[in-house]
């Protein structure tokens, strides 16, 4: 190590080095261990003169060991109290970021597998057709209509047997508003009555569906 470099380092210890000198020294420490040792010596002189406790390189070794992910046996501690097998490699003090990422990914993979299994299981165990027996007894009809201006086309379609489906044709006719309301009322009322019956049997806690039925049973104005 040249005298110029040592003098620059001494000035850096005193915050009197130029910016160029500071950068040069910091760069040089990457490759020169003796420069770091000289820095440590200068700091030790300062600490001693100020009456501070002195530390060698042992603390730095411990810090670097921990940062490198290896918790070494602490030399300060009495060996009789902390027996450490020298062949044992300790886990890092804190889990490294890649390990945490891997753990998270694994958890997500497990969660996705469980969700997939549940979906498949539900499809196998419970088929889609879950219509109540009452509804199956009669063909389910879908009513499509538009509010008539002058002339309307009403298509009545159903989900009955194939024979019924062949025979069924769209019916085109002119509907008045009164006819349409009557048609809706006729279709809707039986469903609401069945719903009320089911509610009374299954739930039995409310008379509200009956109240609705009573309202529906009256002709729609």
């Amino acid at each position: 190590m040249t005298e110029t470099l040592r003098q620059s380092l001494s000035a850096l210890v005193d915050q009197e080095a130029t910016e160029f000198e500071a950068r040069k020294i910091v760069d040089a420490t990457k490759t020169r261990g003796d420069l770091k040792a000289y820095w440590a010596s200068c700091q030790a002189i300062s600490s001693t003169m100020r009456g501070e406790s002195l530390l060698g390189s042992s603390l730095l070794d411990r810090i670097n060991a921990e940062l490198d992910g290896v918790a070494e046996a602490k030399p300060i501690v009495d060996a009789s109290h902390h027996q450490v097998d020298p062949h044992v490699t300790f886990l890092p003090a804190k889990e490294a970021l890649p390990n945490r990422f891997a753990a998270l990914t694994g958890q997500l993979a497990i969660a996705a597998s469980i969700a997939f299994a549940v979906v498949i299981g539900v499809k196998v165990v419970a088929p889609v057709d879950t219509q109540p027996s009452v509804a199956v007894a009669e063909p389910l009809e879908v009513i499509k209509f538009q509010m008539p201006v002058q002339k309307e086309t009403v298509s009545v379609d159903g989900m009955t047997s194939q024979q019924d489906a062949v025979e069924r044709r769209p019916v085109a006719r002119i509907l008045t508003e009164q006819d349409m309301k009557q048609l809706v009322s006729n279709r809707l009322s039986p469903y609401l009555i069945r719903h009320a019956e089911n509610t009374a049997v299954v739930g039995g806690t409310s008379v509200l569906p009956l109240a609705r039925i009573m309202g529906r049973d009256e002709p729609i104005e």
């Binding site: 005298e3 040592r6 003098q7 001494s10 000035a11 850096l12 210890v13 005193d14 915050q15 009197e16 080095a17 910016e19 500071a22 950068r23 910091v26 420490t29 990457k30 261990g33 770091k36 040792a37 000289y38 820095w39 440590a40 010596s41 200068c42 700091q43 030790a44 002189i45 300062s46 600490s47 001693t48 003169m49 100020r50 501070e52 406790s53 002195l54 530390l55 060698g56 390189s57 042992s58 603390l59 730095l60 411990r62 810090i63 670097n64 921990e66 940062l67 602490k74 030399p75 300060i76 501690v77 009495d78 109290h81 003090a93 804190k94």
Partner: protein
Amino acid sequence: MESPVQKVEAENDQLLVDRARLGDRHAFDLLVLKYQSRLLSLVNRLVSNQSDALDVLQDTFVKAYRSLHTFRGESAFYTWLYRIAVNTAKNHLASKLKESKDVSVDDEATGELSVLQDFSAPDEEAGAEELQRAILHAIEQLPDDLKQALTLRELEGMSYDEIALAMNCPIGTVRSRIFRARDHVVQEISQQFPGTFL
């Protein structure tokens, strides 16, 4: 109000912090070597023994390294380290207290207080004291102009400008005298304690 020396120190520390953030561990080593003794004096007042103090100090620097990205430079780096050290010492004391309570139950049966024992190694402490004596002795042996310049810098905290005024000499001479004083002491230590510093 920040003095010019403090401002330069903040800039130098920031340079080291920036390098350390980029993964330059040597730059962080310089920060550790710079502040370890100062922090140890602080931590020694907070915890019961030297061994605990070193543990706290180690945790402090490790936490600091892992949290360097949070250092904004709004305060001095030492102030930031100081806060980490105090919090770490508090946590250490709390865990120690809990540990000692747990152990005290067993102590009734065994009659031992192993946790409360001081684990500090006498050899290491003695070595540090011997080293300090050697440093002070080497400083005593310095020529008066070198010793005076070094003392004004280290004990009085004067800047090179102020020392130049006090000693009535150019600032370059001050810089040279302080360097030669340190260099002489380092040579002495290296001969007496080879391999002490890294």
